[in-house]
């Protein structure tokens, strides 16, 4: 079956008892043992729970992996993955990184002796220099958030294998509909399913997919021991969202491309960062390894002073954190999502006070362009007085 069909049918043939086309929400925490030493496969909901299992199997299959794990947030998924490592271990990590991941590595993992180096993960030469005998893994975001840097997953995973490193890919921005890193050699996928997979800005969730039996077993132990699992209602809501993933991603991409092209021509805009644009340095690699583009991009205004009035005047587009929902959201990374990354690092990659990130929704594209254009115009008048 093609991915559209698999998405639409998540869990819909899984309840033989009633034939329900939507899998039931099992709230139970404990499961009766039919006989001592016998189990239905379910004992205690933290360990394994029926509704969660449907979701976990679905994401494992969609990502071409062997096992899936549903966590209470994307950060919880990352935290669970990082528990694979021990004191003294070293990680190589994308320089332009989601702020929460950076914070988890620098404020928590570092206290437990797990050290990270930040680098452009496309730059193998630079990564060669950073490797130590304790280096255990490479964590890649591609495209990165917010600057949309693209890493060649096949090339880098191949290199990582020769160095015995695990390749971990944060696939939040593209979803398995557009990109399946395990097929390109990655070992572990992580999703903030709060974003495109859920798609409705109504559920916080994280997903992990592992490739290989040993890694899958280890992750199962960690998931159960740390206990940052996703509840059954949220599992169900997430699956409900995933059924329309294909439709939404197509529309997100179409809208984002049109708006990016509009902004590229706008006199108040300095730069637009979006791999769908032929001018983007990652355009070619992106086209090679993904079947489409994400619905978010960033752009730099020429004048930082226009930012505040723009955010005040946008009407359809909400000024809020997060991304990947059906509704349009605009974020100001340097004060919101990336506030915790030190200014030098932030500016080294280009997250400065002129940068806005736009998560394009599935509204009508003309309405979105009209909204932007009126907010830009009001901001211009406020600054220039006419």
């Amino acid at each position: 079956m093609r991915i559209e069909s698999r998405l639409a049918q998540i869990g819909s043939q899984a309840d033989p008892k009633t034939g329900a086309v939507n899998y039931p929400i099992y709230h139970a925490t404990a499961f009766r043992h039919p006989k001592l030493g016998e189990s239905t496969g379910f004992d205690y909901a933290r360990t394994k729970s029926p509704t969660r299992t449907i979701l976990e199997d679905a994401i494992a299959e969609l990502e071409s992996g062997d096992a899936g794990f549903a966590c209470s947030s994307g950060m919880a998924a990352l935290q669970t993955i990082f528990a694979l490592f021990s004191q003294g271990d070293h990680l190589i990590v994308s320089l332009d990184l989601y702020g929460g991941t950076y914070r988890l590595l620098e404020q928590t993992m570092s206290r437990f002796g797990v050290i990270s180096s930040y680098v452009d993960t496309n730059d193998i030469e630079e990564m060669e220099k950073l490797i130590t005998p304790n280096t255990k893994a490479i964590l890649i975001e591609t495209p990165t958030n917010p600057l949309m840097m693209v890493t060649d997953l096949e090339k880098v995973s191949r290199w990582a294998k020769t160095k015995n490193l695990l390749t971990i890919v944060d696939n939040t921005l593209l979803s398995p509909y557009f990109q399946r890193p395990i097929e390109l050699g990655a070992d572990i996928i992580i999703h903030s399913a709060s974003k495109y997979l859920g798609g409705h800005n109504d559920v916080i969730a994280g997903l992990i997919v592992t490739k290989g039996e040993e890694l899958s077993e280890k992750m199962f132990e960690l998931h159960n021991s740390i206990g940052a699992i996703l509840g059954p209602q949220d599992c169900w809501l997430l699956m409900r969202g995933m059924k329309t993933l294909a439709l939404r991603m197509e529309r997100h991409q179409e809208n984002a491309t049109k708006i990016a092209e509009y902004l590229l021509e706008h006199p108040m805009v300095d730069e637009v960062f979006y791999p769908a644009l032929p001018s983007h340095p990652g355009h070619e690699v992106q086209n090679k390894q993904s079947s489409g583009n994400t619905g978010i991009f960033s752009f730099k205004m020429k004048d930082a002073r226009t930012i505040e009035p723009i955010l005040r005047h946008i009407k359809i587009i909400a000024f809020a954190e997060s991304l990947g929902g059906v509704e349009s959201l605009m974020t100001y990374p340097s004060v919101q999502t990336h506030a915790d990354i030190p200014k030098e690092i932030r500016e080294k990659v280009g997250v400065d006070d002129r940068l806005l990130r736009y998560s394009v929704g599935i509204e009508h594209v003309e309405d979105l362009i009209t909204d932007l254009s009126q907010a830009f115009e009001k901001a211009r008048i406020e600054l220039e007085g006419r």
Binding site: H27, T29, R32, G74, Q87, T108, D202, G227, G325, Q336
Partner: protein
């Protein structure tokens, strides 16, 4: 035993458990907290950041639950997690590589596993001691000791730790004190009143009470710890979902009613078992012969709803498990339905047999979590199963 009057608040527990601030929605007057099933919140302006911006960092429904448990435990600030283990693993994240912690030897198996298979790799060192022996606790102190973790009554043999004694000593040595209060709930025991810094719960158990939500709660005693825990909760993201937060609050409203009923049943069951010829031993802090009874009564307002007992052999235990009709034979505890567990093959299956026997958990040990069924039916059921 003291009544349920709070030291620092005039309302009695039964009233507080209903009137915790979320019983009436301020905006609509609704008689139940609404579910804010939103991941993100609009910023009305760039200057005044809103109370809530992103649900991992804060959500109005979850916040109500967090305030609720803080009130019940008489703490400063509450936190809701995806499970009891998520709460406990977060509390341990307050420590750093190189730190040492003293932990009760019959700690919940999941906490044991966390300490010995994950935190050990992060160079957190643990000494397990019998916390009923104060000398052992004192003897475990090292230069790098940072925390003491207690669980009382313990599982499944219901040993009692003197919370006040250990906390006073820990304070003298600048150690953080944590208590897993799952078995007692704040209705029966409020460790923060005894000086403890952090109270932890598997809210999957008595607080939720209906075997329908996996959840964890933490309450801290100081603002400083509150700030740190908030960073950890948001940074690690092991939060409780909105729907589960709501379900848990719904369960907590009947906490006192359920605990009172189940405790009455447990007292009756413990006495009945004590007089049964086929029962070798009964563990319940309310029994006259329980070695920790006096200490328990000093620090708690009740005995709880869990009774453990020894039927002599594995064969007897297995026979009984196959014949009981009322309780769910399952792991877990603390629900409206009675749950009978067999530690040797369930919660403590991973523990080597010798270690298990040393801890008093024999092949004949069973744990009965008394639910809301009629206690005479429960006894009759056990009577026929024990023939």
């Amino acid at each position: 035993m003291s009544d349920n009057n709070h030291n620092n608040q005039s309302k009695k527990f039964a009233t507080k458990v209903i009137h915790f601030g979320g019983e009436i929605d301020k905006q609509t007057g609704a008689s139940s907290v609404p579910l804010y099933q939103a991941s993100t919140f609009h910023h009305f302006s760039l200057e005044d950041l809103p109370d809530y911006d992103y649900t991992r960092s804060g959500n109005p429904t979850r916040q109500m639950l967090e305030d609720y448990i803080a009130t019940l435990e008489d703490g400063i600030r509450g936190f809701a997690f995806a499970s009891g283990m998520a709460a406990i693993s977060s509390a341990f994240m307050l420590l750093s590589s190189g730190d040492h912690v003293i932990v009760t030897e019959d700690v919940y198996g999941g906490t044991y596993r966390l300490l010995t298979s994950i935190l050990n790799r992060m160079n957190i060192e643990t000494t397990f001691v019998d916390m009923t022996q104060f000398e052992q606790v004192k003897g475990a102190l090292k230069a790098n000791t940072k925390a003491v973790f207690m669980e009382t009554p313990s599982n499944p043999t219901l040993k009692i730790t003197d919370i006040g004694q250990i906390t006073d000593w820990a304070k003298d040595h600048n150690l953080l004190t944590m208590v897993d209060n799952t078995f007692m709930t704040p209705y029966h025991q409020r460790p923060i009143e005894l000086g403890v810094d952090i109270v932890l719960h598997s809210a999957t158990k008595f607080l939720g009470g209906h075997s329908d939500v996996v959840a964890g709660l933490a309450v801290v005693a100081t603002d400083e710890l509150g700030t740190k825990m908030k960073q950890i909760q948001n940074g690690l993201g092991n939060i409780l979902g909105v729907h589960d937060s709501w379900l848990l609050m719904r369960g907590m409203k009947t906490l006192q009613a359920r605990m009172e009923h189940s405790e009455k049943g447990a007292i009756r069951l413990a006495e009945w078992l004590s007089n049964h010829p086929k029962i070798k031993k009964v563990y319940y802090p309310g029994l006259e012969n329980h070695p920790g009874k006096e200490i328990h009564e000093k620090q708690s307002r009740g005995y709880g709803a869990v009774v453990s007992f020894d039927v002599e052999s594995g064969t007897e235990a297995k026979g009984l498990l196959s014949r009981v009709k009322i309780p769910l034979v399952a792991v877990s505890l603390g629900a409206v339905e009675s749950i009978l567990s067999y530690p040797a093959m369930m919660s403590h299956a991973a523990m080597p047999r010798e270690v298990r026997l040393e801890r008093g958990i024999t092949d004949g040990t069973l744990r009965y979590s008394v639910g809301l069924e009629d206690i005479e039916d429960i006894i009759q059921d056990l009577e026929q199963a024990l023939y």
